[in-house]
């Protein structure tokens, strides 16, 4: 330890040892001054409480080694005595500042906090009020020994506390953070050990092995501290090798993931290992949880809700013990973390930022893949069902026609008649199916031609009901006579016809058609009192080839495309079509179409 031990050696018999000793002290001086300057510069650029306490800690140390050299070692002069005392008092603040630095990462334990303050206060005041400081070589008085013990206990106690806490907190952290925390801990211990040896070795002016050891320990602590709070880039790169590999693997995982779920599965465990957390999650910009690892679903949902209102960020943020990694799309990668991470694991959390961008890209790509795959599946199903439904009537027509052709004279008249009737029925069904398939393909290719016109709804519906004849027997129409909508007349007719036919085939009377204006739309509802749509089938109702009742013959049942056409036509007109169950039973099929507003009504033109 350097403070006030630099008295000229009176018993210097061993010149080479003295030279080594002096050289060490010079290097040590340079080291501690550099540490102080470094810490203060870091604080100047990043004004966090941790940086402030670190600047205080090492600023004190650097300042003291400098002043120690400047102030002449002449204890007979009053001002140097006071300067000495002040230096020692300030020195006592070093472990205190180190302790406060550590407290920026973890909650204080109240009694430890109180003891640390009281002890620091006592040591500082005691240093200033010390009645006499023995000169080098003078025997220590009992009072001075008591003071020295108090000083050493205070210093080593706080240093050990900090060192143990930092060392233990390093467990499970990524390599850089762990090594930084542990080298800081070692530095604190090195300095404490140096002080202990120095305090117990008496006040010899001889260059004893103990004094050399003191200097060596103190010397070693400087680079340890430096590695701890500001490791050079080359060292960081060396330490990060493992994490860099982990990153590469995460990137490969991202590039090969074909579905959002795979993105999350390959990324999250690696991210957790990368920053030494316990769990991670990806939450989309809309708050949808895209993947979870090592966290409770419930917790993630709460966080997902919080993420929705969160302002976009450019850097990794830490709240709720979580690293929030922003993604360009507004999604968030969240990783559980410790409070130490932002200070000690800056490189790793920075790496996450880049990984977040890549994750975003991977997610976008994977969801495109997934959508494409779903489209292909839907298309494959559509083709399979369409070909099945086309083949069946064709096979029937072909089969009966062949039979009639080859066995005309063998077949009784009645059977021939039945067969031709079947052929007719099946060919009607076939041509309806072909028409529906063509309509569907036009709607899906967005190539359906609409010729919108103003439609007086009540009049149009009454006409449809009349044209349907028996199929719409007893249908009641309750529509606001003033209601007019703006749509393709033929499409509107098709929609209402489909709803009324469905009500007649699947529903039960009384059937009611009602319509009113709702905002800027006209909504028409066809209400029946049958059994309604089975709830498990309702979500698929408007899909292509959706048939709830498989028992019905296809020729009488329809093509299975009617409702998907209804919805397609309604949407092509800027409206929509949907189903809600009627109470207590039955169905309500509704369509919303743009109402004829003055802007698009004929009278205004």
């Amino acid at each position: 330890m350097s403070v006030r031990q630099a008295a000229p050696a009176r018993n210097c018999h061993d010149a080479p040892v003295r030279d080594i000793y002096e050289a060490i002290r010079l290097v040590e001086l340079a080291g501690f001054v550099a540490l102080g300057v470094f810490a203060i510069r870091m604080w100047a650029s990043r004004r966090t409480p941790a940086h402030a306490w670190l600047a205080a800690t090492f600023g004190i140390l650097g300042g003291i080694v400098v002043f120690d050299r400047i102030i002449p070692a002449d204890s007979d002069v009053l001002w140097t005595q006071w300067a000495d005392r002040i230096l020692v008092a300030v020195l006592a603040l070093f472990p205190y500042c180190l302790y406060r630095f550590m407290l920026t990462f973890r909650p204080r334990i109240p009694w430890v906090f109180a003891v640390a303050h009281v002890a620091t206060g006592i040591v500082v005041v005691w240093s200033l009020l010390l009645p006499e400081v023995p000169d080098e070589g003078e025997p220590r008085t009992a009072a001075f020994t008591a003071y020295l013990i108090a000083f050493l206990v205070h210093w080593t106690g706080l240093s050990l506390l900090v060192a143990v806490r930092l060392w233990r907190a390093g467990t499970g952290q990524p390599t850089v953070a762990r090594r930084r925390m542990r080298t800081l801990a070692l530095g604190a211990i090195g300095l404490a050990v140096a002080l202990l040896i120095s305090g117990s070795s008496g006040s010899d002016t001889e260059i004893t092995p103990a004094r050399l050891a003191v200097q060596l320990f103190a010397l070693a602590s400087a680079p340890l501290f430096l590695l701890g709070f500001a490791p050079p880039a080359s060292v960081v790169a060396l330490w990060r090798r493992h994490e860099e590999n982990e990153l590469r693997e995460a990137e490969i995982g991202l590039m090969t993931a074909m579905a959002p779920k795979e993105v999350a599965e390959s990324l999250l465990p690696r991210v957790v290992r990368l920053v030494g957390g316990d769990g991670a999650a990806i939450v989309g910009s809309n708050g949808a949880v895209l993947g979870v690892y090592g966290m409770h679903d419930r917790d993630v949902r709460v966080l997902a809700e919080k993420s929705v209102g969160r302002p976009p960020a450019e850097d990794v943020e830490v709240t709720d013990d979580l690293l929030w990694v922003p993604m360009p799309s507004g999604a968030w990668l969240m990783v559980t973390t410790t409070a130490y991470m932002p200070f000690f694991g800056r490189e790793d959390s920075r790496a996450l930022l880049a990984l977040g961008v890549m994750t975003d890209l991977a997610l976008g790509r994977a969801s495109l893949f997934e959508r494409e795959r779903r489209n292909v599946d839907t298309m494959r199903d559509f083709v399979a069902i369409a070909s099945h439904d086309l083949r069946t009537p064709t096979a029937v027509i072909n089969g009966y026609a062949t039979m009639l052709d080859s066995k005309w004279s063998d077949l009784p008249e009645a059977q021939r008649r039945d067969m031709t009737a079947t052929i007719r029925r099946q060919s009607v069904h076939l041509s309806r199916l072909i028409e529906d398939l063509l309509t569907i393909s036009q709607i899906e290719a967005a190539g359906i031609r609409t010729m919108p016109d103003e439609i007086p709804v009540e009049e149009a519906v009454r006409e449809i009901v009349k044209d349907l004849g028996d199929a719409a027997e007893g249908v009641r129409v309750e529509i606001d006579p003033a209601l007019r909508l703006y749509a393709d007349h033929e499409h509107f007719r098709r929609i209402i016809t489909n709803y009324l036919r469905n009500a007649s085939v699947y529903g039960a009377p009384p059937v009611l058609v009602e319509g009113h204006r709702e905002g800027r739309s006209a909504v028409i509802r066809v209400i029946d009192h049958g059994a309604g749509v089975p709830p498990e089938f309702a979500p698929r109702l408007f899909q292509k080839f959706a048939r709830a009742d498989k028992k019905m013959s296809k020729a009488t049942q329809g093509t299975g495309l009617g409702l998907s056409i209804v919805r397609g036509l309604a949407r092509a007109a800027g409206g929509d079509a949907w189903y809600v169950p009627n109470q207590p039973s039955g169905s309500i099929f509704a369509v919303r179409l743009p109402s004829a507003s003055p802007a698009n009504s004929r009278e205004e033109q």
């Binding site: 062949t402 028992k551 020729a555």
Partner: protein
């Protein structure tokens, strides 16, 4: 007079096709159609009691079990029965991959039904 081959037909898909199958198979007096079922459940019960020589199985049938999935269950119920998957779906590959299915015929080839059934039952084709 040789013993009649027994056949069980399972068709739900289309009433018209069920009738057509009856008319087509009527041409060979050695073939007897003794049962029709509309679901896998019904077909399995029928197969267990009647020991059919051949089951003509459609894929699109009543109930939750589709024809192709019903084939192994039918085979278990009547191990001696051959199973012909007769459907309008493109299931040739799937039928070949299913050991319980002994033959596949698309409904588009309605005229091949009788010869296929005859071959599967080892019956000499008749004029």
């Amino acid at each position: 007079m040789e013993e009649k081959a027994r056949i069980l037909v399972v068709v739900e898909d289309e009433e018209d096709i069920r009738l057509l199958i009856r008319l087509l198979l009527r041409d060979d007096p050695r073939i007897e159609l003794f049962g029709e079922a509309s679901s896998a459940q019904e077909a399995i019960e029928l197969a267990r009691s009647a020991h059919p020589g051949l089951i003509i199985l459609d894929h699109s049938i009543d109930g939750d079990v589709m024809g192709l999935q019903a084939a192994p269950l039918l085979k278990e119920a009547a191990p001696e029965a051959k199973i012909l998957l007769f459907t309008a779906f493109d299931l040739q590959k799937e039928a070949e991959a299913e050991p319980a299915v002994d033959g596949f015929l698309s409904k588009s080839n309605m005229d091949r039904l009788l010869p296929t059934v005859q071959t599967m039952l080892d019956l000499e084709p008749k004029a």
